[in-house]
């Protein structure tokens, strides 16, 4: 039983092959032997010669022969003959052609430009109408051997339209030569289709057998279409039905897996947006509605750093995101400390007033950024090591930037946990939030710790903004689109718990993605919000509530 594999796209093959070493192995095995290639080249040269000089019947046979050989130049030669662009050169048995759309003359066999075309005396070859009629089908068939993978794909689609034993043969030959996985996949599918439609019962059964391991919805519908036909024997029917069912199961599994990954990916974005809030809201109890604007500041810092790097050291531009990380932490963190010192400090113990004042701050920051940078979105480019994707079995696509953001979000969370649990500052921070009076009595400067804690939360948000700049539009409204979600994550996960933020964001992300197919993106979100509102009734302190005295604040 042969499985239909999906391998990475050609342009990214090299890098993806590192990830999927198996892919390399398989494509190495599939390379056609060099000796056979040489024999084909000789036969092709002979056939082209016959085309140029033979009579009508010889030419017709030569066309058939060329189709049979399937040389990469076949399409170019045949279409040149068809459109009277093929010519003989006086005084030699060389055949040249004028490329499609004009350009210098090239050698028919190699495709290389002819030297000194002016010096050559050429004579155009005219094919009779019978030959031209034959050429019309032949040109579309030999396209399957063309050099351009895109042309091969298109030709595959054309060939399927006329299923017969001959086309099946052609496809088999093409399959032997094919090296590009995407085209190979298409040819396999086309071959199976042709065999299912045109082959005898035995061929059909064999084709079904081969297809039953597929993970393509196209194959499934092909098999189901076979069931609708009257001229299909019972055993073929049964086999087709079973194969379709097994594909269905596999598709469902893949679909679920894909949705879980998409959910985790969305969850990691939520995690980045909310993790800073876990400090300012979760630990300090300050409702910071300007939190979203800290994300925005981080994203704009990324933009500024990128511009600066481009201006100062263009060679390092691919690394500008890395430079942006500390810069964003400092910018957003400094803004956080400033806000704490000027506004938030005066409002401790008055949470509702804090909420209003920080909303005012968020308006100021938004309008400030809009005034400085302008309202339109800013372009932040993805570095090369973050663009691209891997395609998994079943068509699931993992883009690198999503993967990076997932890893990055977890790393940020881990670093934050280390800072809180293992550093002196973290210890002092926890002491102040648990019992301010006692902490002060122990000589901890609570005012300064408050400012630094707020700065830490804001700085982390700024770092999150760097990551968000890679996947969303950098605009003054960037923060607004995350603020409700971030608060939902923190409230749902449990205030003051890093595990809560992780759990909350992942659960919400996955839930969102599982609801989306049934309810649509918008309504799915509405349902999630309603579910959270109901969930809070049941566990007012969230999923990972702090227990004991620390939870009683």
């Amino acid at each position: 039983m042969t499985r239909l594999h999906r391998w990475p796209r050609p342009g990214r093959a090299a890098r993806a092959a590192l990830l999927l070493a198996l892919g390399l192995l398989v494509s190495a095995l599939q390379a056609p032997p060099a000796a056979a290639q040489q024999a084909d080249a000789a036969a092709f040269a002979e056939a082209v010669q016959t085309l140029a000089t033979g009579d009508r019947e010889a030419r017709e046979r030569a066309v058939d022969r060329i189709v049979e050989i399937g040389h990469p130049r076949a399409a170019a030669v045949l279409s040149a003959l068809m459109y009277r662009r093929l010519a003989t050169v006086a005084g030699s048995d060389r055949v040249v052609l004028e490329p499609e759309g004009g350009g210098p003359l090239e050698d028919a066999l190699t495709g290389e430009p002819v030297e000194n075309p002016e010096a050559l005396e050429t004579e155009t070859i005219y094919a009779s109408n019978q030959v031209r009629r034959k050429l019309r089908t032949a040109v579309s068939q030999v396209q399957i051997f063309a050099e351009d993978p895109q042309a091969r794909l298109a030709s595959t689609r054309n060939i399927v339209r006329a299923p017969s034993d001959a086309t099946a043969d052609l496809l088999r030959r093409a399959l032997d030569r094919e090296e590009v996985p995407r085209v190979e996949q298409a040819i396999r599918l086309a071959l199976a289709k042709v065999e299912l439609l045109a082959g005898d019962a035995q061929t059909k059964l064999a084709a079904i057998e081969r297809l039953s391991g597929s993970t393509s919805p196209e194959v499934r519908s092909l098999l189901l279409r076979l069931l609708d036909r009257d001229d299909v024997p019972a055993e073929v029917r049964t086999a087709a039905r079973e194969a379709a069912a097994s594909i269905e199961t596999r598709l469902t599994l893949i679909d679920w897996g894909q949705r879980v990954f998409q959910g985790i990916s969305l969850g990691s974005v939520l995690l980045l947006a909310a993790v800073g809030l876990a400090i300012t809201f979760g630990v300090m109890g300050v409702i910071n509605l300007a939190h979203g604007e800290m994300l925005m500041l981080g994203a704009y810092t990324t933009f500024v750093v990128q511009q600066v790097v481009l201006a100062v050291a263009p060679g390092l531009s691919e690394l500008s995101v890395l430079f942006a990380l500390p810069a964003a932490f400092l910018v957003a963190g400094a803004m956080g400390v400033l806000l704490e010192q000027t506004v938030v400090r005066h409002l401790y113990g008055r949470p509702l007033e804090t909420l209003l004042a920080t909303f005012g701050i968020s308006l100021l920051l938004q309008q400030g950024v809009r005034t400085i940078f302008g309202a339109p979105n800013k372009e932040v480019s993805n570095p090369f090591w973050m663009s691209g994707s891997i395609e998994l079995i079943g068509g699931a696509v993992l883009t690198y930037n999503r993967l990076f953001i997932l890893v990055f979000a977890l790393a940020v969370l881990a670093v934050l946990a280390l800072v809180i649990k293992r550093t002196t500052f973290g210890l002092q921070m926890r002491a102040v939030t648990q019992n301010r009076g006692m902490a002060r009595a122990m000589g901890i400067p609570s005012g300064r710790i408050d400012a630094l804690t707020f700065g830490l939360g804001s700085g982390i948000a700024g770092v999150g903004g760097v990551a968000l700049s890679q996947i969303t539009n950098v605009s003054p409204n960037l923060g607004q689109s995350f603020i409700v979600d971030s608060f939902m994550v923190v409230v749902f996960g449990g205030v003051g718990s890093l595990w809560g933020v992780l759990g909350g964001s992942m659960v919400l992300g996955i839930l969102n993605k599982f609801l989306e197919p049934y309810a649509g993106a918008m309504l799915g979100k509405v349902i999630v919000l309603v579910l959270i509102i109901l969930f809070i009734q049941w566990r007012p302190r969230g999923l990972f509530a702090l227990k004991g005295r620390a939870g009683e604040q």
Binding site: E353, L356, L363, Q366, Q367, V491, M522, V530, P540
Partner: protein, 377 residues
């Protein structure tokens, strides 16, 4: 949190009502609004005092916002919970009115379905539009729908003792969810465009200046009525319990008062007033769409109340009128400055004017009295 309204004392004043300074100021304001503005509008165009026609609509919208602020201030200022989702009730009331107006338009054009449903190729009216072409049904829905949402939302949140910032965040999630839901055209409320292009209300053309003045007068009267109702409630025994809940909810509970139900009652009443305000807003604005449910809009409502003065009824009205007047004046010539001003206002008020503008007057009066050494007040 001192300076509570004195409990009602019978005996003096008209029918036992002793209007305070705020009441008198409000009566003056509403009288000017009710009589003065239409008279100014009726002046001949060449006289210098002529109020342009469009100003009636602008002022009318301000008074609708004042109703919303009053409703919000009743809950936040007296019972304690800060709702960041009051735009939900305002918007729902508005949509109920919008449905009525859209049906009127369709009927006058000889259609059964409103225009946007025709564009969507809908066959028949969704069931939730049943009866919306009848004015009494529409009027009922205008208060019943926001009231029902408030009842449901309040019942669940108050029952599980969700208070403080949690209540605020959850109420924000509610209005955010409504915004997302109403943006979908499948819901049958015109999607992101909303409901607009109205023709008649109660048989009168909405574009007539006479009709506009009629709606405007109705708005001022509705505001006056809502104010009196709220005033009566906060001065009743229930109002005393409300303030007690704001100050120490647990103690009130221990004393045997059903704190949840009291809060729920006020919350539902507040939603109804907000809904009425939203309903009156729609014919004057000429449109209702999901932007009314934007979380930022609802936060702005809290800002009006904070600016005007939390814990009073006069303050929210003053705040809504003042902030909106400043907004439309400033956005006229420097729109990019407005957000700076609004943001600054939020911060300045919370830091320096915790009692808002309404608290400014008593503060000044006390300061003056102190300097005189008199016994005034």
């Amino acid at each position: 949190m001192a300076s509570q309204p004195a409990p009602a004392r019978a005996g003096t004043g008209v029918l036992g009502w002793r209007p305070g300074a705020a009441d008198l100021a409000l009566i003056a304001l509403l009288l000017i609004a009710l009589v003065g503005m239409p008279v100014l509008n009726a002046l001949p165009p060449d006289s210098g005092l002529k109020l342009p026609d469009y100003m009636i609509g602008v002022l009318g919208k301000f008074f609708c916002f004042a109703m919303l602020a009053l409703a919000h201030g009743l809950v936040w200022g007296y019972a304690g919970p800060l709702s960041l989702g009051h735009g939900a009730f305002f918007g729902l009331g508005g949509y109920c009115m919008g449905m009525y107006l859209a049906r009127q338009k369709a009927i006058s054009a000889g259609n059964e379905l409103p225009d946007f449903m025709v564009f969507l190729n809908w066959e028949s009216l969704p069931w939730w539009w049943t009866g919306t072409h009848l004015a009494p049904v529409a009027l009922l829905l205008i208060v019943a729908v926001p009231g029902a949402l408030a009842l449901l939302f309040g019942y669940f949140t108050f029952r599980s003792r969700i208070s403080g910032v949690y209540f605020s965040i959850i109420s924000q999630a509610m209005v955010f969810a409504l915004m997302l839901a109403f943006s979908r055209s499948e819901l049958g409320f015109g999607g992101k465009t909303g409901l607009t292009n109205f023709s008649t209300i109660l048989g009168f053309s909405v574009s007539d200046q006479g009709t506009r003045i009629g709606v405007y007068v109705a708005t001022v009267l509705a505001l006056a009525g809502s104010y009196l109702l709220c005033r009566w409630i906060v001065r009743s025994k229930l109002g005393q319990v409300l303030v007690a809940i704001r100050e120490a909810e647990d103690r009130v509970r221990f004393l045997g008062y059903p704190a949840d139900r009291v809060k729920l009652f006020v919350f539902v009443l507040s939603a109804m007033i907000a809904g009425l305000g939203g309903a009156l807003y729609v014919p004057q604005a000429g449109i209702i769409n999901p932007s009314e449910f934007e979380p930022a809009q609802s936060i702005e409502v809290a800002a009006w109340v904070a600016v005007g003065g939390r814990g009073t009824l006069f303050g929210p009205i003053l705040g809504a009128l003042g902030v909106n007047a400043a907004k439309s004046w400033l956005t006229g010539f420097a729109p990019e400055l407005w957000l700076f001003v609004l943001g600054g206002l939020f911060i300045a008020v919370t830091l320096f004017l915790p009692k808002g503008l309404a608290g400014l007057w008593p503060q000044v009066r006390a300061a003056v009295a102190k300097r005189r050494g008199g016994t005034d007040g």
